[in-house]
């Protein structure tokens, strides 16, 4: 039995400990905000926070989250008020929107450690998150806007 806290709620899981958090979240808990994109940590669609740091849910086993705090896009803010969520809407960043939860979770992790990132820091942090629609210029702009607003 593995105890995992997701967005503040504790869950006991008696399935295979090697199951990636991605599928635990999506198929066991029914929390589908975290997306499947590649299964090999190549695209960032499944980005979540483990004790506040961005990880790829598709390659992080449930066992690695035992006793730790998992935060997903659904738990980033209680009322969609995180500065990144607001900036994303202000700039109409999304096209199809599928990669955006992962992008936002990655950017939120960046802003925690680097509240005012420059272009090089944004490149380094966001290079692992693919967007096939090509929203990158707006992602960059929205991260900077959120940073100006003092994102936490």
């Amino acid at each position: 039995m593995i105890n995992v806290t997701v967005n503040g709620r504790e869950h006991a899981f008696d399935g295979p400990p090697e199951m990636p958090l991605l599928w635990f979240l999506r198929d066991v808990l029914g929390m589908t905000g975290t997306k499947f994109g590649c299964g090999m940590a190549l695209c960032g669609a499944c980005t979540i926070h483990l004790d506040g740091t961005a990880v790829r849910g598709c390659v992080t086993p449930v066992a690695a989250a035992a006793g730790k705090k998992v935060t997903t896009i659904e738990g980033l803010s209680p009322d969609v008020s995180h500065p990144l969520q607001k900036a994303w809407q202000e700039f109409n960043v999304a096209q199809c929107g599928y990669c955006q939860p992962g992008q936002i979770m990655q950017a939120a992790s960046l802003l925690k450690t680097t509240p005012k990132p420059n272009d090089a820091e944004i490149d380094a942090a966001m290079g692992g998150n693919l967007c096939r629609c090509g929203t990158y210029t707006r992602i960059r702009a929205a991260i900077k806007r959120a940073a100006e607003g003092g994102a936490a």
Binding site: K35, G39, V80, Q85, Q95, G127, L130, R132, T135, R140
Partner: protein, 760 residues
């Protein structure tokens, strides 16, 4: 929300017209008086045509909330927002009280729903305006009846109907029930708003209708659909197109915890159309268990007729075909004679590989086949095609099949083909009616795509002694999309050649366009902008090569080839015109010129650049829209390519949602950069060799253009025809990029992707 909830929700909303949605009635199917001899263009020429009945598209609750029914699929182009804002504007609705509900696949009811070909607003803008305006008139009539005054004295404005003389007002919610009982005004009695009175159309001021859902993780894509008792499946498909299972052993797979069943699926006859590829499915309690189970399958495959498909050999065969005469598809003057006496000749051959759509959401669908019917929830671009496919494969009447359309996590043409939805339905049937969600893993997606075609484009031109181009010979060789529908076609279809080749506008007296033979060995499908990609790449690269050979400025030379402003009737030169009336949508070289001149001016064409930098230009008409791009590149000494800036000018006629036009151009630039620099699927022994994003690379944020400037050239006259938006931004990007590389380095790239070609 489980499956029943979703079904009930859609019924509450608009199928039965109960509850919140008062202005909704059963709508009789329209009867078309068609003249078979009369060619039909545009939306009327599409299967099931167009609808403008307000009862199909508008529901107003007693609380005043307006629900707009969107019958087009949302895949990032913003259509749910744009459809809603068109209806809301004509309806004089307050945007804050507007919601959108997605229509299921039902073309007999909604008209054409195939969200493809950059057609949504191009075809549906006017019908949706009429629907909104008719609903507004019905609200005004309801208010007039309530007050016993003439309807002409009642005016709907921003969610309130006012009787000017008495100052009385009624909200839309108060009027909904009464309005719903009124007849729909006749088409010729509907007064559309003047464009000067538009609130939302053309303004670009409203945010995305799904914006909050997307950033909070609430947005539901096909892969996110849920139903009570749902189980999960992945499928091992024949790795070679046309192959099938020779033998298999599922015993070890069956032992994986969570695996419920191993299910063989028949492989289809070829050509397979949209039918699933067959193979061995593993159904389990989670997607993870299904994936682990699939890893334990022991399958021996029979490769079939395409087991020898090899990209290296195939490229050589295309090149050989391009070096010999082929079927002439357009001809003027005498090219051979003109080339024979040319003062200077230039020839070049271009290669573009297969590429994969690689939507970030891989194909995924949920289906339940039980109680004599099928209900599916899926990310499909053409829900009626999905419905027809399910009906055919399940042996059900289409009336017993419902295809509910989720958001699409990218489409780009891949999700027009509902093979993945059919897999879910066949597996649900095999699981005795349990709802089954099929998820394609990324290797499934990249190895079993409907691939963008592979092509060789060969061009030859002759100059006379004055430096004028007098001869132009273009051979395009590529396996055709029609190969998924008909057996062994050898030539591209007229519509494919009309995507940027046979519609060439250049004013060259001797011109011959040819299409030598090519056979398909994998599933060929349409990828965003389709054959415009190879055609524009070759033609716009070649124009720059000719300019260089003539010692001319590439932009000036391009304008000279386009020639003076004139209107070309597409039918007069025997080319396809995107299904549009050639009179209403002529090939307008004045608009070509304007996008070129605009982008050159805005990009500072001719400006001084640092060493290692260069500007390239290209222009293209596709989907009856005109786009030109200037790309600025920097190539470092070690051959690293960066793109500081791209300017892109678009003339798509009047713009409904300029903000989304901009975003589509931005996205097109990035997708154009991806296919120019990185994207390639290769085959060996019939199998696609790229299995995930480490091998099939896409442009990432650090390599994307640092700045993209979109220049909208629009018309404020909304009676003018609309052009497409979703696709036309893509074609000019790659040639502008390689032309910039040439300007920066003197190196001419003739084969995509650029990949390592610039490395020292």
């Amino acid at each position: 929300m489980n499956a029943h909830d979703i079904a009930n929700e859609s019924r509450r909303g608009f199928l039965l017209g109960v509850g919140a949605a008062a202005l909704v009635l059963a709508v009789p199917l329209p009867v078309f008086a068609q003249d078979a001899a009369q060619p039909k263009y545009g939306g009327e020429g599409m299967p099931h045509g167009l609808r403008d009945d307000p009862r199909l598209f508008v529901a107003i609750g007693a609380d005043g909330v307006v629900t707009v029914i969107c019958h087009r699929s949302e895949m990032g182009q913003g259509v749910r927002t744009s459809v809603a804002l068109v209806v809301a504007d004509e309806l004089e609705a307050d945007w804050n009280k507007v919601k959108v509900q997605q229509a299921p696949g039902d073309e007999a009811r909604y008209g054409n729903q195939n969200t493809d070909g950059s057609r949504s607003l191009r075809h549906h803008f006017m019908p949706l305006r009429r629907a909104g305006a008719a609903a507004r008139a019905m609200l005004e009539a309801a208010a007039a009846a309530t007050w016993s005054v003439p309807a002409s004295e009642c005016k709907a404005q921003n969610h309130v109907v006012t009787h000017a003389r008495s100052g009385r007002t009624l909200g839309y919610g108060d009027l909904a029930t009464k309005a719903a009982a009124l007849p729909v005004p006749a088409a010729d009695a509907i007064a559309l708003k003047k464009s000067a009175d538009f609130r939302y159309i053309g303004k670009g001021k409203v945010g995305l209708i799904d914006g909050a859902d997307i950033v909070s993780g609430r947005a539901t894509f096909g892969i996110d659909a849920k139903a009570d008792g749902m189980v999960y499946a992945v499928v091992a498909r024949p790795p070679v197109y046309g192959g099938k299972v020779k033998s298999f052993d599922g015993a070890e797979a069956q032992k994986v915890p969570g695996v419920l069943k191993v299910v063989p699926l028949d492989s289809p006859a070829m050509p397979s159309k949209f039918r699933p590829l067959g193979g061995i499915a593993v159904v389990a309690t989670t997607t993870w268990a299904a994936i682990k189970g699939r890893e334990k399958l022991k399958i021996e495959w029979e490769a079939g007729p395409n087991g020898g498909y090899d990209s290296v050999a195939y490229r050589a065969s295309l090149e050989a075909a391009a070096r010999k005469p082929g079927k002439a598809v357009r001809s003027a003057g005498d090219v051979d004679a003109a080339l024979a006496k040319a003062a200077k000749k230039v020839e070049a051959e271009y290669y573009l590989p297969h590429i994969a759509h690689a939507t970030m959401e891989p194909p995924a669908a949920l289906a339940r086949v039980a109680d004599g019917r099928c209900d599916a929830w899926a990310c499909v671009q053409s829900p009626q095609d999905a419905r027809d496919l399910l009906a055919e494969l399940l042996g059900l009447d289409a009336s017993k099949v419902a295809v509910n359309v989720t958001l699409l996590g990218g489409g780009f043409g891949r999700k027009s083909k509902a093979d993945f939805v059919a897999e879910a339905a066949l597996l649900s049937r095999a699981m005795d009616g349990k709802p089954v969600k099929v998820t394609w893993t990324r290797d499934d997606d990249l190895m079993h795509d409907y691939f963008h075609t592979v092509s060789v484009e060969r061009l030859e031109a002759g100059f006379d002694a004055d430096g004028k181009v007098t001869a132009w010979l273009h051979r395009s060789v590529a396996p055709t999309i029609t190969s998924i529908f008909v057996p062994d076609p050898k030539h591209e279809a007229p519509f494919e050649l009309g995507l940027g080749m046979t519609d060439t506008p250049f004013a060259i007296p001797n011109l011959r366009l040819e299409n030598p033979e090519a056979a398909a060995h994998t599933r060929i499908g349409w990828f965003r902008s389709v054959s415009n990609v190879p055609h524009a790449f070759a033609i716009q690269s070649f124009v720059a090569e000719l300019a260089a050979a003539a010692g001319r400025d590439p932009k000036d030379f391009l304008l000279e080839l386009i020639g003076p402003a004139r209107l070309i009737d597409a039918e007069s030169i025997g080319t396809w015109n995107y299904g549009e009336d050639p009179k209403r949508y002529p090939i307008d070289t004045g608009r070509w010129r304007r996008v070129v001149e605009t982008v050159a001016k805005e990009a500072g064409w001719g400006r001084k650049l640092a060493a290692g930098r260069g500007l390239g230009i290209a222009a293209h008409r596709s989907f009856v829209t005109y786009v030109a791009a200037v790309v600025e590149v920097e190539v470092s000494k070690d051959g690293t390519l960066t793109i500081p800036r791209v300017d892109i000018a678009v003339d798509c006629g009047p713009q409904v949602n300029p903000e989304r036009v901009r975003s589509q151009m931005e996205g097109s630039v990035v997708q154009g950069v991806a296919l120019a620099t990185l994207g390639e699927i290769t085959f060996k022994d019939g199998r696609a060799q790229q299995t995930n994003f480490h091998q099939y690379q896409l442009t990432r944020l650090p390599q994307a253009p640092r700045e993209i400037r979109v220049h909208l050239i629009g018309s404020d006259d909304y009676a003018q025809p609309l052009g497409g938006v979703g696709e036309p931004g893509v074609p000019p990007v790659a040639p502008a990029l390689v032309n910039a590389v040439f300007a920066a380095t003197g190196k001419r790239i003739r084969a995509l992707p650029i990949a390592g070609q610039l490395r020292a």
